[in-house]
């Protein structure tokens, strides 16, 4: 059942008004690139502006609260909050009979909050490991939600159609009043983070120490979780309960790659979230059959991927390059020291080097060539000798080796 819903959520969405005549594209990946004129649509197209604003707001709020969640290793909690919202949405509909988004969002938020509280209670009173408690709570609440949804769909209530949009989100239905709701919910969340920034920072880094200072750690924990619930509420209509976790985790994880300062990380996280929100909205609005929510999440994943590989401080590519460079440097230094020993005995030739290093003469020749290109050795009638630069470098290396044991500090 879920599968068919996934397909429907993706396909049934009508493309945003006014862009049905998008010309056919030849390149297979072209649907994912935006042109300048398409970017400008955000200022001229009213429907699209609402969708983009709503998605951007989600990106900002999810990014900021997600930063704390990721640092506190509570990424999974965000996933639980989001999934647990589904039964809340259904119950809110059953109890009130209305489809007003704010009512449903409040129901969803309350259910998420309840789930978080239950997880804490389970952790406090049972020996269930944290990940198990989170996983069980997530699937229980979500299962209950799906059951309620089916019940509603079979109860012949004419207005039920559309509740399932909260599973995968349906950003295209976002209108001005929704954006206003998001602004209020998200604004409250951001304001509170601003007020309690210093406390949240300490809470995330060292909760026991915060407690020892007399900060009400439990209250602050509850507050931060409640703010995460607000972020989830902003995201329910746009990306839905299943994909919401990505909007909490991915921006923060990407931002962490670029900076070592919490302030900067939170700012970047918000920026990445907003960028993903806007580009996801734009791409889906200007192409046929591309749903907004999943595209927002995909845009975010793309930003995360780029960050993981190319961020200057922690990017894998630079890491890899640095390791390679270091290895090469150490290898050459080792080589120079060998050459230095032979040079001191006046017998630095490819043959002696090969013998000392137990390598073929051809390799020794290449090695000497490498040293020569660095200007550390030069040719000589009797083979090779060290240049003054090479001598000095070898001397420095020997000095460094001599003090090495004292430079190693601590046991861990």
């Amino acid at each position: 059942m879920q599968c068919t819903k996934a397909v429907r959520a993706g396909r049934a969405r009508a493309p945003a008004r006014g862009h049905e005549q998008t010309p056919r594209r030849s390149h297979p990946l072209e649907p994912f690139f935006l042109t300048m004129s398409e970017l400008l649509l955000i200022f001229t197209d009213y429907t699209l502006r609402n969708v983009a604003l709503g998605s951007a707001m989600l990106g900002v709020v999810g990014g900021v609260l997600g930063a704390f969640a990721v640092l506190r290793r509570q990424s999974l909690l965000g996933d639980v909050l989001a999934h647990a919202a589904l039964p809340g949405i259904c119950l809110a509909f059953i109890l009130t009979g209305t489809k007003a988004p704010l009512v449903l969002l409040l129901g969803g938020g309350l259910a998420g909050w309840l789930a978080a509280w239950l997880v804490l209670a389970v952790l406090r009173h049972s020996r269930l490991p944290e990940d198990s408690a989170l996983g069980v709570m997530l699937s229980s609440f979500f299962g209950f939600g799906v059951a309620l949804l089916t019940f509603i769909q079979h109860s012949n209530n004419a207005s039920q159609a559309g509740l399932d949009q909260y599973i995968f989100g349906q950003a295209a239905t976002i209108v001005a009043s929704d954006v206003r709701n998001f602004m209020v919910l998200g604004g409250v969340a951001l304001l509170v983070v601003g007020l309690f920034y210093k406390e949240f920072k300490l809470l995330s880094f060292d909760p026991a120490y915060a407690h020892s200072l007399g900060l009400p750690v439990r209250g602050l924990n509850t507050l931060l979780t409640s703010l995460m619930v607000l972020a989830v509420m902003v995201g329910l209509q746009t990306v839905g309960v299943v994909l919401m976790a990505a909007m909490l985790i991915a921006p923060a994880a990407a931002a962490r790659q670029w900076t070592n300062r919490l302030e900067a990380m939170i700012g970047l996280s918000a920026l990445f979230g907003a960028m993903a929100g806007v580009s996801g909205a734009l791409i889906s609005a200007t192409r046929e059959n591309l749903p907004t929510g999943p595209l927002v999440v995909l845009s975010m994943s793309a930003i995360l991927l780029v960050s993981l590989f190319f961020a200057p401080l922690r990017g894998l590519v630079w890491d890899w390059a640095r390791t390679r460079q270091n290895r090469r440097r150490v290898r050459l230094e080792r080589l120079l020291l060998d050459a230095h020993v032979l040079h001191a005995h006046g017998t630095l030739t490819p043959q002696t080097l090969a013998e000392r290093r137990r390598e073929p003469v051809a390799v020794a020749l290449q090695n000497l060539e490498a040293l020569r290109s660095l200007g550390w050795v030069q040719e000589h009638p009797q083979g090779f000798i060290l240049t003054p630069t090479g001598e000095q470098k070898a001397h420095e290396l020997e000095q460094a080796m001599r003090v090495l044991p004292h430079r190693v500090e601590g046991s861990s």
Binding site: F196, K201, Y209, A210, E409
Partner: protein, 259 residues
């Protein structure tokens, strides 16, 4: 948080012990981690808590600071309750208790020691920076102010935690294994700070694991193994019989160290 201003001090607080523990019992699951602990710490001394692994040394510190639930017992600081005396108490947790990859700088961590005094909604400013810098100087870490904390060695991390506690400007300090796995430079720095604190008349309670050094470093000793085995001045308590009773027969520390 705390409403009582620092200046209002009980006139007799000078006379009452910085830390008095009565009948403290802590139970984690079934087995008690601490059983009926009675402890009184003298003012202005360096006090060690020593015992085997699992003896409840860290638990004792956490329990008196209200960080773990207490089954029964009473704890008074300078004759006051924890809430009343909180601003006079500094804490150095175990270095391994936090994630050192957290995106923050050395100076930032030290300024956290001032968050309790700052109060709600206020951000640390130039005054707090100054104070934090002075504390970093005390542990010889002023050269690392802007360093990201993950780029520190274990010993340097320990000194940052110590500086953070110094920023609290407390009268009673609790330190959880500050000497564990640190380099010689750090060990020296910690000792220097301990003696400086003692000179200022402050009291320091340190969880320590090394019987080799405990007699040189501290004035007062508490031997703990779930219960308090012995507690008092170093010379009286550091005896082969007491050590044997704390560590069991298999440990032969007593013979080696009292000779």
């Amino acid at each position: 948080m705390i409403t009582q201003p620092r200046t209002v001090q009980n006139p007799e607080s000078g006379a009452s012990s910085p830390l008095r523990v009565r009948d403290l019992t802590v139970v984690y699951r079934e087995k008690p981690a601490l059983w009926d602990v009675d402890l009184e710490v003298p003012t202005g001394q360096l006090c060690a808590i020593v015992g085997p692994n699992g003896a409840g040394k860290s638990t004792l510190i956490k329990a008196v600071l209200g960080l773990v639930p207490v089954a029964s017992g009473q704890v008074r600081f300078f004759g006051q309750s924890l809430a009343q005396a909180r601003k006079r108490i500094g804490y150095v947790p175990q270095r391994g208790s936090v994630d050192w990859d957290f995106p923050t700088s050395v100076l930032d961590v030290v300024m956290m020691g001032l968050y309790g005094q700052l109060g709600w909604f206020k951000r640390p400013g130039p005054r707090e920076r100054e104070a934090a810098l002075r504390c970093l100087e005390q542990v010889s870490m002023q050269a690392f102010t802007t360093r990201q904390i993950s780029q520190l060695s274990g010993g340097q991390q320990q000194r940052v935690f110590l500086a953070r506690a110094l920023a609290q400007d407390a009268d009673l300090y609790f330190m959880d294994e500050p000497f564990a796995g640190v380099d010689a430079v750090t060990e020296e720095a910690i000792l220097r700070v301990l003696h400086e604190l003692k000179k200022q008349g402050k009291t320091v309670v340190v969880v320590h694991h090394d019987l080799e050094t405990v007699r040189d470093y501290f004035d007062h000793l508490t031997l703990l193994n779930v219960q308090v085995i012995a507690s008092g001045p170093m010379e009286e308590v550091f005896t082969p019989e007491n050590l044997k009773r704390t560590y069991g027969e298999r440990m032969r520390w007593g013979e080696r160290h009292s000779a």
